[in-house]
């Protein structure tokens, strides 16, 4: 198997996306800047068109309002796409759910366990910044004062699951534990394998998240000291 040739500290899944540059702090900054530029390129023409319409013909107010609405809605749709990575998936039966959450609880500390019970998300400190790990994705809060949110869609490979002969989905705790272990093994590789869905302002993402999961963002911002990484 090709993955055998890779060093152990590199996530073997990165071989499946060998064309992607490995994510690091510089790349995050670049991607973030590009995302901002793209957002501006979407918003400014609509706002410009609305202004121009009003200058040329005030009766075109409804069209100008539609332009302004577009300028507002497009970034919101991207933020919604980002927030969707943390949306909980369908639950398994009670017993597998209980067992999987128990295992997940063994992997994290007391505060992270409590936060997961309240929000369904695990707060995991990383070198790039704090991560919020969900069942089918993770969000990295990055930059000065963690103002930018990188949302990644990533999950257990369905083909790998099928290859084990199991047609049944994993319970929620196991889905998170898979991502958590991969993140802990190789944070940069994790971000490289995952598909980026949003890299914009944290406030914009937070507004699109369900109220209960916003608590996890708040916990990440309160500081990582209170969210222990693992039992000693």
């Amino acid at each position: 198997m090709g993955a055998q040739a890779q060093p152990l500290d590199v996530l073997p899944e990165t071989e499946g996306v060998h064309w992607r540059p490995r994510v690091d702090a510089a790349r995050l900054r670049r991607v973030g800047s590009l995302w901002t530029l793209t957002t501006v390129a979407h918003v400014v023409p609509f706002l410009g068109a609305a202004t121009l319409l009003m200058v040329l013909q005030p009766l075109a107010l409804p069209v100008a309002i539609a332009c302004i609405a577009h300028a507002w809605v497009i970034p919101e749709l991207y933020a919604q796409r980002g927030a969707n990575v943390l949306r909980p998936r369908a639950k398994a039966a009670d017993e597998p759910e209980r067992r999987s959450v128990g295992l997940l609880g063994d992997l994290v500390g007391h505060d992270a366990r409590e936060l997961h019970a309240r929000t369904g998300l695990v707060l995991e400190p990383g070198r790039l910044g704090p991560w919020l790990v969900g069942e089918a994705g993770a969000v990295l809060l990055y930059g000065r004062r963690r103002r930018r949110a990188f949302c990644y869609c990533i999950k257990v490979d369905g083909r790998a699951l099928a290859a084990t002969g199991s047609a049944q989905p994993l319970p929620s705790g196991d889905r998170i534990a898979h991502l958590l272990l991969a993140l802990r093994a190789d944070e940069q590789g994790f971000a490289t394998v995952a598909n980026l869905t949003f890299a914009g302002a944290r406030w914009r993402l937070r507004r699109r998240m369900p109220a209960v999961t916003r608590l996890a963002v708040d916990a990440a911002l309160r500081g990582l000291d209170s969210a222990s990484r693992a039992p000693s």
Binding site: Q4, L8, D9, L11, P12, E13, G16, V17, V85, A92, E95, P96, E97, R98, R99, S100, G102, L103, D106, L107, G109, E124, P125, G126, A136, G137, Y152, C153, I154, K155, V156, D157, A160, L161, A163, T164, S166, Q168, P169, L170, P171, G173, D174, A177, H178, L179, L181, A182, R184, A185, F190, V193, A194, N195, S228, R229, A230, S232
Partner: protein, 74 residues
């Protein structure tokens, strides 16, 4: 008692248990470990708070070895 567990649809299953003083149990665990890797699982051990490491041979002295499936971008 060390454990090799596999995350699956049941929550998790214990694949093998061993102590380093029991060579037969260790050998059985090693065989089970290799069989799970053949099935496509990846083996992980915690190496400290917030850190995990992939292993390709069963670390006999580890308390817990967890088998996970590969992940991919959604």
């Amino acid at each position: 008692m060390s454990k090799l567990i596999r995350m699956d649809h049941t929550g998790h299953s214990t694949v093998a248990e061993w102590t380093s003083e029991d060579p037969a149990a260790v050998e059985a665990a090693v065989q089970s470990f290799r069989a799970e890797l053949e099935r496509g699982y990846l083996a992980m051990v915690s190496t400290g708070p917030g850190h995990a490491e992939q292993v390709r041979e069963l670390p006999v002295d580890a308390d817990l070895v967890i088998l996970r499936l590969p992940i991919s971008g959604g």
